[in-house]
């Protein structure tokens, strides 16, 4: 028997443009929180049953990341208004009127302690091997002026109120470069031509 060959798609489904389906999508894709650890110092980290060398390495990574990800302020007063008097330092970047300022690092988040007692190492390793944004990178933590008990990431995500293990969603704690991007470099032609032809509704064709 000959099967009819159709000239059209087998299906034409939408999952994202349809609001009801979007909810389902979010349900399916909801992210699991994973365990990470928060410490004031590498010594404190080691006291929590972690290998001292790994604590030192995690701390060093966080320190190296600190000048890249810490929020930057054009002057010290603005920085201290957010983080408290005496808790800001000079950032490596310069602007026309002088230096930028950033909060001091008040602790660190250790995301990939591998051989911790009591935790299955395979589980941690597979999470680390998955790479990308599913893992929790080691990173600096900060404390806000009006909330000195909470450790926060450079992106202002609260992660813990005391040292030790905590649960975080990996996507919420990805370090972001604080470098200011130039924006608005595309789209000028659309603006100009829209003025010349106000009815134009598409830049495709």
């Amino acid at each position: 028997m000959q099967k009819k060959v159709f000239k059209r798609s087998r299906k034409a489904a939408l999952i994202f443009m349809v609001p009801a389906a979007t909810l389902v999508l979010q349900g399916c894709g909801s992210e699991q929180a994973v365990e990470a650890q928060v410490f004031n110092t590498p010594d404190e980290c080691a006291a929590f049953y972690n290998p001292p060398a790994q604590c030192q390495a995690a701390f060093a990574e966080a320190q190296a990341l600190h000048p890249q990800v810490a929020p930057k302020y054009a002057n010290k007063q603005e920085c201290e208004a957010d983080f408290g008097v005496g808790r800001c330092e000079t950032a490596p970047e310069q602007h026309a009127q002088g230096s930028f300022f950033m909060p001091m690092m008040m602790g660190f988040l250790a995301g990939q302690m591998l051989n911790r007692g009591g935790m299955a190492p395979q589980q941690q390793q597979s999470a680390a091997a998955a790479g990308g944004r599913n893992t929790v990178p080691n990173q600096p933590l900060y404390k806000a002026r009006d909330d000195q008990s909470t450790f926060r990431t450079a992106g202002n995500t609260p992660v813990a109120s005391q040292p030790g293990p905590t649960q975080v969603r990996p996507s919420a704690v990805q370090p972001k470069p604080a470098t200011l991007a130039r924006r608005g470099g595309f789209g000028a032609q659309a603006q100009q031509r829209a003025a010349a032809a106000p009815r134009q509704t598409t830049y495709g064709g």
């Binding site: 059209r8 595309f186 830049y203």
Partner: protein, 383 residues
């Protein structure tokens, strides 16, 4: 090929809006029009549209190696000199391309005539791939159209396959101009298909794209390594971030070499190489100044939606469409009348995904120049 009146589905507007088709009506004028459909025979589809589409596509691709190594042709096509190397490299690296649309004048008899290639930012994708597909299923379910009716429309299948198979960086970003609801609709549809094929897809407004040290970045400062942009290359090459295009580690859809094919200058180059081909119209580069003779059409190298097109019919009737594309060279193309059905002139957009013909979308306008105010009508195949 014929036009057949049919009752619109009751309440289709609300359904359209519930599935993201906000622009079914534009400025209170209908855009999606299901008060009639076009009917083709299978032979018309396969012999007159599908086969020529793939052949013309291949002919156009075959021109590119010569163009990228010819300063004369790159100049004729209005490509800014500082991008010649980048265009050439994007072709030589075989950067993948996703889709394009050819516009044909075709009346059901005789060869379809190629009017132009929309190979950089083609739209009416959602209307073709999704909404007319659903229209046919609905009308069959209601018993209005016979079960045996088909449609030349494998667009969504082929796009899904392309997203699954193309070597694209992840995450992959999709971008359009903030103010254009229609463009956002097209991009949403592409993102939807990309998500269905498993691609990690994200949207960023075109104006929000950032630049850090010559690298395009998203709102959070992450590098954008893959970007679909529903925005003309010729615009991007004139804007502030033009130099970032050269330095940024970003794969674009469409790739930069598509600038050569979306260019109306490809029409005279095709005619030079394949003069007399049944699907081609005579075409020449034009200075944009000399008076146009009857039976000719003048188009800017870069224009969209019929803007700045000038036309004189063999009978001497003049038509001119204003618009914002006055800053490039021009081509002159022999006039091929769009067939008239009732009060409307009909244009066939024939889609290409990768290198395969993937379906058609039909647009009608009250004028011989098809513009952004034209209407989209569905079609069926029935022998």
């Amino acid at each position: 090929m014929k036009k057949v009146p049919i009752a619109p589905r009751p309440g289709w507007q609300a359904f359209a809006e519930s599935v993201g088709f906000q622009f079914h009506t534009i400025d209170n004028e209908p855009y999606w029009d299901e008060s009639a459909y076009y009917q083709f025979s299978l032979a018309q589809i396969e012999d007159d549209l599908e086969t020529p589409t793939e052949q013309l596509h291949q002919m156009a691709l075959d021109l590119i190696p010569d163009i990228v190594s010819s300063e004369q042709q790159l100049s004729q096509l209005g490509i800014p000199q500082q991008f010649w190397d980048a265009v050439k490299e994007s072709w030589q690296r075989a950067e993948p391309h996703l889709y394009g649309r050819m516009d044909f004048a075709y009346d059901g008899k005789g060869p379809a005539k190629l009017l132009e290639l929309n190979y950089d930012t083609p739209t009416s994708l959602y209307e073709t791939g999704f909404f007319q597909w659903v229209w046919l299923e609905d009308q069959q379910m209601r018993g209005v159209l016979p079960e045996g009716a088909d449609q030349f429309n494998s667009l969504q299948d082929k796009l899904e396959q392309a997203f699954a198979e193309l070597p694209l960086p992840r995450p992959f970003y999709f971008s359009s101009v903030t103010e254009s609801q229609e463009d956002k609709g097209t991009v949403d549809y592409l993102m939807d298909i990309a998500l269905q094929s498993g691609l990690d897809s994200r949207y960023i407004q075109l104006e929000q794209i950032g630049d850090i040290d010559g690298q395009l970045v998203d709102l959070e400062g992450y590098p954008i390594q893959g970007l679909f942009k529903l925005y003309p290359w010729e615009f991007m090459l004139q804007e502030e971030f033009a130099s970032t295009i050269l330095s940024s580690d970003t794969r674009f859809l469409e790739p930069l070499w598509k600038l050569l094919l979306s260019n109306k200058g490809i029409l005279p180059l095709l005619w030079q190489k394949y003069q007399g081909h049944p699907n081609l119209l005579p075409a020449f580069f034009d200075d944009g100044k000399t008076a146009l003779n009857p039976g000719w059409v003048r188009k800017p190298l870069f224009s969209r939606e019929g803007a700045n097109v000038e036309l004189i019919t063999p009978q001497g009737e003049k038509l001119q469409q204003g618009g914002p594309y006055t800053d490039s060279g021009y081509v002159r193309q022999a006039f091929a009348p769009l067939p008239r059905f009732g009060d409307s002139y009909t244009l066939i957009g024939s889609w290409v995904v990768g290198d395969l013909a993937a379906g058609i979308g039909i647009r009608e306008d009250n004028s011989l120049i098809t513009k952004d105010s034209s209407r989209f009508l569905p079609h069926i195949i029935l022998d």
